[in-house]
């Protein structure tokens, strides 16, 4: 009986210090399994999943940019082949979808900024719009600058 208690105690101590204290997904907890499509029913869940899925568009854009850099480094013929491929209906469609997701990401990211980083001034919380508007101003200035760099005739 005493042995058992000691064994039980050491077990508890071990589980408190080594493994079980911070295993992120604890194997012994009972969790009810959700349907794979749990996020379809409610608007909030759906926007959450759409936001998560926008990361695929981000990855797609980076892959595209890496191919563009590769084409650039290989010379003018390679680059014109790359720009030709971008004109195919499939890449146009994919880019249009990706662009919608990216815009969705931008809007939700800027809207989340005042909640993620509450700015306080004189003990009062700065209104959300005063945090969000500079973000859009930055987006506009940066976009205009990038477009100007690419479109100006040297």
């Amino acid at each position: 009986m005493t042995d058992q208690t000691i064994a039980g105690k050491t077990m508890t101590d071990q589980s408190m210090t080594d493994q079980a204290a911070r295993t992120e997904f604890h194997p012994r907890w009972y969790r009810k399994r959700l349907s794979t499509w749990w996020w379809l029913g409610e608007w909030h869940y759906l926007t959450f999943i759409l936001r998560e899925l926008s990361s695929l568009s981000v990855a797609w854009f980076v892959v595209l940019t890496l191919f563009q850099l590769r084409a650039l480094s290989r010379g003018p013929e390679s680059y014109s082949r790359f720009t030709d491929r971008l004109q195919s209906p499939i890449t146009i469609a994919l880019n249009a979808i990706a662009f919608c997701f990216i815009v969705f990401h931008t809007i939700t990211w800027f809207n989340a900024a005042p909640r993620a980083m509450p700015v306080r001034m004189g003990g009062k919380r700065v209104p959300k719009l005063l945090v969000t508007i500079p973000n859009y101003a930055l987006l506009f200035v940066v976009s205009a600058f990038v477009a100007w760099l690419l479109l100006r005739t040297p």
Partner: protein, 136 residues
């Protein structure tokens, strides 16, 4: 009196909140990369994708020549810009995609594989970007 003081002592020894005994987590580091990538993706990708993915291929705006683009890409500041544009959003993707699979699709038994795939992909893309920008 004695009883009260011991109670107070044991109260003070108790960790404040549930998290004070936790080891410092790597999650904060990955979250920092995620949010830095989120800012870059939110500010820089819209115009980049609009111009190169839609406006130039569809002829809405005149396509810049190869010479113009490569001259831009070769300047040191643009190299840094392009490196940041490729690398940080990949870490943003890694974090979000990991949780898309975990929360969205309920893939809960492949955590290590998914982690390796996502962050391995982000590291690979970063290395590729560095290599290409070096060669350009």
């Amino acid at each position: 009196m004695i009883e009260r003081s011991t109670t107070e002592q044991s109260m003070s020894e108790r960790p404040k909140g549930g998290r004070s005994t936790d080891k410092p987590s790597d999650e904060a580091f990955f979250w920092l990369l995620f949010s830095a990538g989120g800012v870059v993706a939110a500010v820089l990708i819209p115009i980049q994708l609009f111009l190169f993915g839609l406006a130039f291929p569809l002829g809405w705006l005149p396509q810049p020549s190869y010479e113009h683009v490569i001259a831009l890409a070769r300047s040191p500041l643009a190299r840094i810009y392009l490196f940041v544009l490729c690398s940080l959003p990949l870490f943003h993707w890694a974090h979000r995609f990991r949780f898309t699979l975990y929360d969205g699709l309920q893939v809960k038994h492949l955590n290590e594989v998914i982690f390796a795939f996502c962050y391995g992909g982000a590291l690979l893309g970063t290395a590729l970007a560095a290599y290409l920008l070096w060669m350009i």
